[in-house]
Amino acid sequence: MKRRAFLGSGLAAGALFASNAGGRAEEPAPRATGCLGLIVERASGSVLLIDNVRRAALGRIEGLGDLSHATAVFSPCERYSYVFGRDGGLTRIDLLESRIDKRVLQSGNSIGGAISDDGRLVAVANYTPGGVNVFDADTLATVASVPALGADGKASKTVGIVALPGRRFIYSLYDAGEIWIADFGDGATPKLTKFGNVGRLPYDGNVTSDARHYLAGLFGEDGFAHIDLWVPDLKCERVGQGYFGGQQRLPVYKMPHLEGWGQSANDLLLPACGAHEVLAVDLQTMGLKKRIPTHGQPVFCVARPDGREVWVNFAHPLNDIVQIIDVPTLEVVHSFAPGPGVMHLEFTPRGNEIWISARDADKVVVMDVRRREQIAEIAARKPSGILFASRAHRLGG
């Protein structure tokens, strides 16, 4: 019965696309977006619209520009996705109609973005000229442009932007070594809170799922910058300092990412930068609990939604392997090779399945998480990021 229902919705979706192509004004068929998502095809400037229940690609949307390192966030209603391109492009995609709804070139070069908790503001962190641009989520009209001039007066690349409750965004200034909070709670003019001397070269940042702990990874030193956002007097402190213990940092062929990091009830699992290790930080004490040896330099440490396991991919040239860390024991319990050039991993909202992009095999592998077996394969051109619409309802987005 369910199967028939899926086929029915698939046919309806096909009819919807056909009517768009023909330009005829037909009533769109009812359709839901909760199981939809995007796969970024980084080299061809396109995204695949996918259905993670049917495990199928529904269509390809082209014309998004340079999508190396592209990521996306979703509107609270899950109809729209905002894709942040490397070339400074901000594209709003209509998931229902499988098309580009609006697109602006908002800067020369961007790295990522976030959507405010009320879904009204989309903020983009930029490399060139640096700073954060904030847009109206409906019109993509500019709401604010916040330059990132560090204490030294120089423009800084901005990285690691996430949304905080109360129409706030938090991000790191790569060159200046600062962390800023831009508070849009009172309208279009943000109130800025700045933290200086947070550490050298913060390369990415993220906030825990309760929006309490913001951490930025530091390239220029072994450690993380940490702000506890629940205390009244905010301050930035180092966490995991000296995790190398005097070891030489290895050359880093791909910067680690903190997006999707491995968070469980008590621990935060973070990629070490320049070491074949995942670091477990105790969320109660913020102390370093364990250095977990891994196959290579970790890029993404993605927690299964229940936090029981963390799945990890690795930097070039060891990027054909994925390892699974068991969180209660903090040990690697399984390794497998889903394909060459593993770029990203995305769990379905309840964690029963995981989608893994194998860039160099031009495919995305879908696996049953408990059996750890492949159950489907989606053809995609040089796939990188996999982003499901259910992200709309996670804090931080």
Partner: protein
């Protein structure tokens, strides 16, 4: 460095060596995909600087090859020696200055 310069000179004099090392198609893929992680797939720059001909106009092929092989200490630019031969690095540097193939 002078030994390196001599090696560079020798390589430029002996085009047969230019055929050695990693297959060119693989190098193009590596530069676009893996260098592109930081410098952008279009090489317009990202966390790392732009690698377009205009941006590299003032830099020598040999100097760029040395950066590729040895990295830039204190920055995220890693050394690629071991993965890339000096011939590979010179070829990449030359092509970056000319406009890198797709």
């Amino acid at each position: 460095m002078s030994r390196f310069a001599a090696a560079v000179f020798a390589l430029l004099c002996l085009p047969v060596f230019a055929q050695a090392g990693t297959p060119r198609g693989k190098l193009v893929g590596l530069v676009r995909q893996d260098c592109g992680s930081c410098h952008g797939l279009t090489l317009k720059g990202g966390l790392g600087p732009a690698l377009l001909p205009t941006a590299l106009a003032g830099k020598s092929v040999e100097g760029l090859a040395a950066i590729i092989l040895d990295g830039v200490p204190g920055t995220p630019m890693p050394p690629w020696r071991g993965e890339l031969s000096p011939e590979d690095a010179l070829w990449i540097a030359q092509k970056l200055k000319e406009g890198f193939p797709q």
